[in-house]
């Protein structure tokens, strides 16, 4: 397409690209606290992107979504995670199962897959942000990959939450967001989920003296 895109679309695409970039950054990040910060940054970008969409299309409930995203994903969850890290005295570095370059290569392959899968759908979409659906799917998959390769509990949870971010991006990009009641429900679930996870971290640390999930490999078939 050679025709110049409107500014809003360009902005949205830019933010989407930033989200993807941040997803890669999280995949590569070895330390816990920067990882959480990256996550917060991703939430912020998401919020900005949603704001742009809301502003451009005039969908009122998207402002609500944006606010919710900001509050939950950029502020509340990172704060909780920070507190947890401090309280649990997690060691700073994060070990991966596979080394970072390999992970990145796999990530690139995933992006290609995601773009191709999303292509037929985004062509059907009429929203201004339709091009970002592929990016949303890619960031979901990258978050998934991150969950697979991380061996510590907290990064795994961050991956889980990043996945939620990708889903949110998908929702805004494809359909201008879900109905409000659903959004609220999802947000509530995520929040409760993180709280329960927090409880879990303490229980796990009490039992294993560590948050390394490689301790959690005893239940298996022999």
């Amino acid at each position: 397409m050679n025709t110049a895109l409107p500014l809003s679309t360009q902005l949205i695409n830019l933010f989407a690209a930033v989200v993807l970039l941040l997803a890669f950054a999280m995949l590569a990040q070895r330390r816990v606290l920067p990882l959480i910060n990256l996550f917060a940054l991703q939430g912020l970008t998401l919020c900005l992107s949603t704001l742009v969409v809301a502003f451009t299309t005039g969908q009122a409930h998207l402002y609500g979504s944006a606010a919710l995203t900001l509050a939950l994903k950029a502020v509340l969850l990172p704060l909780i995670l920070h507190r947890l890290v401090r309280k649990l005295q997690v060691k700073a570095d994060v070990e991966g199962l596979i080394n970072v370059p390999t992970t990145m290569l796999a990530g690139i392959a995933l992006v290609i897959v995601a773009f191709n899968v999303a292509l037929p759908i985004s062509q059907l979409s009429s929203t201004i942000s339709r091009g970002t659906l592929g990016i949303a799917l890619a960031s979901v998959m990258l978050a998934f990959l991150m969950m697979i390769v991380r061996t510590k509990a907290i990064p795994q949870v961050v991956g889980f939450l990043a996945m939620e971010n990708g889903l949110f991006l998908a929702a805004t990009s494809a359909t201008y967001g879900m109905p409000m009641v659903v959004e609220l429900g999802i947000a509530l679930d995520v929040l409760i989920g993180v709280i329960i996870l927090g409880v879990f971290f303490f229980q796990i640390r009490d039992q294993f003296d560590s948050l390394d999930i490689r301790h959690l490999e005893n239940l298996k078939e022999r």
């Binding site: 199962l97 995933l110 899968v117 998959m141 998934f144 390769v149 061996t151 490999e217 298996k220």
Partner: protein, 669 residues
Amino acid sequence: MPALLPIDVLLIAACAWLAIGLAGLAAPRNLHFISKILFPLGAAVGVLAGLTSLRFLGSGAETAVLAIGLPDLPFHLRLDNLAAVFVLLLGFAAAGISVFAAGYFRKGEGAAPGLMCLQYHFFLASMLLVLLADDAYAFMVAWEGMALSSFFLVTTDHRHAEIRRAGYLYLLIAHIGAIAILLSFGVMTAGSGDYSFAGMRAQALSPFWASAAFLLALAGFGAKAGLLPVHVWLPEAHPAAPSPVSAMMSGVMLKTAIYGLLRVSFDLLGEPLWWWGVVAMSVGLATAVFGVLYSTVQSDMKRLLAYSSIENIGLLAVALGLTLIFHAYRMEALAALSMTALLYHCLAHAGFKSLLFLCTGSVLHATKERSLGKLGGLIHRMPWVAWLALAGVIASAGLPPLSGFVSEWLLLQSFLFSPGLPHPWLNMVVPVAAAVVALVAALAGFAMVKFYGIIFLGQMREEALKDAHDAGPWERAGLLWLAGLTLALGVLPTAVISVIDAATRQLLGTGLADKVREHGWWLLAPISPDRASYAPLVFLAVIAAAVLLGRQLVHRLYHGRLRRSPAWDCGYVFQGPRAQDTAEGFSQPIRRIFEPMFRMERHFPTIRDEKPYYSVKVEDHFWHWLYLPLARAAEWVSRLIIRLQGGRIAIYLLYSFLTLIILLLVARP
């Protein structure tokens, strides 16, 4: 009030059995009530069922539909002549066995008597329902109910690990067989969705699917009957079960499998193909030879009988195969002959095998011993059981003038016609199969001599046997009833054939009865007296006359003096019980001649042994050739598959991830 139809009476009988069983559960510990009231009542119901089917035989089919079952498939019941023959068998055998059981169960043995009573009568009722069922669902429910109740009966004495193992093996094979039967029914519906037997009859299957249905049925029913190679449960389950249950299983339950095969191959499938008969016959021959060989080398009396049951089932399958071959070539008169042999053998085997199993029950009760190596000389202590067992032994060895011989005679007669088959291979090979049947019959004699001689004759191999007591009145009554049936089946073949002929006519369109009745009630001449004839009564009379006359003459002309002294034995000094052949010793010639057929572990004494001993253990090749490899293969696969559950969460996530990606890439609408 309209008169009760036979099918109604039979339904009432089934309900009565269930009610009797439940009544037993109401007072589970009251042995007297259960054994002296409920079991005889059950026997009476059995007689009722037998008489009803006797009255019914020869009339047209009756049907009934019950209000239970699947929503679109209520239980269809149907009483026709084929079913009636087997109901007759069930009712009369059950009568004898129940009466015996009334005297058999004691306090403190295995499960609570009430529970036994429930399981036993549930077993009877489900067998009756198997015979009456007229749709796939009702049949399967009754069939599996039969398996289940007999499984619980087999594991009555579940404290022993080997009994539990036997029960497990039994139920497993029964269940897999049941699935095969279910699939066979599935094929026979041919996609019409009509699971009633009437619906299956209406289908015209292509030869491929008909063959599939037949083979599935052969496998499924064969698993229940104990055909090779799915026979392995049988020699385990029969010894494990209490004797009346073994008698019921061997005498009646195995026949329900034969019934099922007949129902499928002659009634539901329509026209058979000739090679089905060849398959059935080959399997049957292999089974018969295998069964009889293993029965001769057993040293546990109930295992011996169990293998002998396998042999008889093999013979039944041979008869089935022969009938199928004749029927496929539309030689209906000959098919009727071998079909009669088949049905006759079902009845005969039900009589004599139940009788023998019950006798082992009495022996077991009197001696607490199942191993042949520890029995002997019981004819002195248990004359009733011993003499009645002799009838069973002679019938089981297929000797005149008792029941087993009639069916074997009929079978051999039908074999004699096989050269007339229009197929160039069959007419050569099938007659030779008759030789195998003869070998089986002769070997059965060997096994039976061993069984009887070692248990009842000779010197007592253990001191404790001196305290053995004869069977009680209930047990005697049961044994007498079955021995009477065996005798009646032996000497009144014409009458019996007239009764069962209705079933033959139903399946083949022609029967033997008219021809048989032509020559008087005492002479059995299925084709013509010139061709072949057998008159067991004359036979018996001549022998009896010779015996009596001989005795009288000798006593009259000479004298009847008699005195006792120690045995001579060529002047051999040591004449203790251990000088006799052991059970293993008796079968040594068989083991030696048929060595490749057995898997033997032998230990020979050497000169350096401090305590020299000889031992031999005979095992089934099939375990090592078929079952263990199968079990190992399953274990190998499961060892492979459980790696899926390696405990590492990252790997689990990876599965999920890969599943998603693969589906996204591959799955297209």
